[in-house]
Amino acid sequence: MAPSSTLKSPASGKVKRSGHSRKLFLKILRVLVLTIACLAVLIPLAYLVINSLKLQADMYTTPPIIIPRRITFEHFQTAFGNPKTLRYLSNSLIVASVTTAVTVIVSTLCAYGLARLGLRARWLALIIFVFLFIRFYPRITTVIPYFLVMRDFSLLDTVWAIIIGHLGITIPFVTWLMLIVFQDLPREVEEAAMVDGAGPLQRFWRVALPMAAPGVASAAILTAFLSWNEFLIASSVAKRQAQTLSIAVAGFVTDKGIQWGPMAATAVIMIVPMILFALFVQRYLVRGITLGAVKG
């Protein structure tokens, strides 16, 4: 398995040698498995980007063209040249940013209130259960009634219908997350501030919030991703004007056939900014995702 290691130490005993080559074997295995795993993540992403740049004629070949000799921006031009795509893009941006801003403000306050209300453990557990339940119950249950409610308020096909729908998911989730953060903060600092005469608002704003800032950042980032990527609620209430990018991507799949090029280009527009953003804020993202599961 590892001839080099046996050659290097010909004099060493049998036990030591087999231990050595076993270690090398494990090391090679580790590198191999991790390389395959990384390729399994990267190849599909790369193929999507390549397809978005392929000529229409090169699109549907067997075997597939991996490195196209000629590339084209035609699909992006079709996408960006279409005022609709621009509207989808701006809708997605509006929905994600309004949802994130409102969620973070409302949920952080709520979580702080719950953490400092002095509730009995049992009551707090009940509230946490309700929030957790809202995070995980079949959302499809409320989507149809929500559609009817929005119809009755004539909010159908507006970004507001999507934003309000997203808030219903993100607020319980972020409140739950922030509750974990606030419960972990040392109370002594706040109690000291209280002795100095700081009111509840000041204690929240000047003492608790700065300590919880990394948690708030994580929550905001997770909310933005969730809202940007969400499909079910958006597609149920937005049919034309208010469509977001996720609906646009799904819209290329029809019973009759698929326009691969524009679909790939739209998917790239949707994915690539998020990947760059994720790389930029990776630490907060990881913290946010693991917080709920590890501390929960």
Partner: protein, 305 residues
């Protein structure tokens, strides 16, 4: 709010006079959640007892009691969807747990190659499920797909992934694994860093092999985390709709109809509101039981720690 007024332990007392403020902090969030989630939930419970197809009539055509539930339970497509959901979620979460845990061990450490590997491995988490479905639709396509082309290099003739009923189910599992293994990977990685290094050190001094210390130290310490992750993953996988929508549209035929996808088509394609609500409440009962179980476990662990 009466709870806050009751005699509290001494360290809590000085917080008590703030409670009107804290209530004011809590109310906006509760208000939004009750309006956006609570009301539709009740509405949906009401719908489940009504005979109402939106395309036939703008309002309900009458009360049918449990009729919708009976009708749904006897529906062949629903039964098939339940079976598909169990097959897809069941196999996907087993693969995800094993693969995610294994990768977390292999990619541990703070060297720069490992940090890059970890960054790459979590990328699928930030990709929209609709886009993930789309890109795998390209990968698995029988003509332009890269998967079968790559398989041909190792001498395997790939199947018609999305055209064959059985392989389409496998395709849905593959996409679920691709999207969610990073979650397991991330959570287990975080859990591993929480295990004190000294434990492994003293175990190896006592002559334990790595495998033994994995079984005797890591697994017991990680068990609560692994179980939580498993159940979170199970629920999210059962609820996933977006990726199936862009990957297979439920097809070929009804081959990849899952519970969520079936309810979606029932409610938002056929606009059969009564049946869709009944089906989703059957689904809800199951999800509530699973969540209640997780929560009960969590509370037990918290009190035993």
């Amino acid at each position: 709010m009466t709870v806050a007024n009751q005699p509290a332990p001494r360290h809590r007392r000085k917080w008590v006079h703030d409670w009107p403020w804290m209530v004011a902090f809590v109310v906006p969030a509760l208000f939004i959640v009750v309006i956006v989630q609570g009301y539709p939930l009740l509405f949906s419970a009401y719908l489940s007892t009504q005979d109402w197809i939106l395309t036939n009539s703008p309002s309900s055509e009458g009360f049918v009691g449990f009729g919708n539930f009976v009708k749904v339970a006897q529906n062949e497509v629903f039964q098939r969807a339940v079976r598909n959901s169990i097959i897809i979620t069941g196999s996907a979460i087993v693969v995800e747990m094993l693969l995610g845990t294994g990768l977390a061990y292999l990619a541990s450490g703070s060297s720069w190659p490992m940090r890059i590997v970890r960054t790459i491995l979590i990328l699928p988490l930030v990709i929209a499920p609709v886009a993930a479905g789309t890109l795998w639709r390209m990968m698995l396509n029988s003509q332009m797909g890269l998967t079968n082309y790559l398989l041909s290099f190792v001498g395997v003739k790939g199947p018609d992934w999305l055209g064959n009923a059985d392989w389409a189910v496998v395709s849905v599992i593959i996409v679920d694994v691709w999207m969610a293994t990073p979650f397991v990977f991330l959570v287990v990685s975080a859990g591993l860093t929480g295990i004190p290094f000294e434990l492994h050190e003293s175990a190896s001094l006592d002559g334990a092999t790595r495998w033994q210390s994995f079984l005797r130290i890591d697994i017991p310490l990680l068990a609560p985390l692994l179980l939580l992750t498993l159940i979170f993953r199970m629920l999210e996988s059962l609820l996933s709709l977006d990726s199936i929508y862009t990957l297979t549209l439920g097809g070929p035929g009804y081959a990849t109809f899952t519970m969520t996808y079936y309810i979606y088509t029932l409610g938002l394609r056929s606009f059969n509101l009564g049946l869709a609500a009944a089906a989703s409440w059957l689904f809800m009962a199951f999800a509530a039981a699973a969540l209640g179980f997780v929560f009960w476990l969590q509370q037990r662990w918290q009190t035993s720690q």
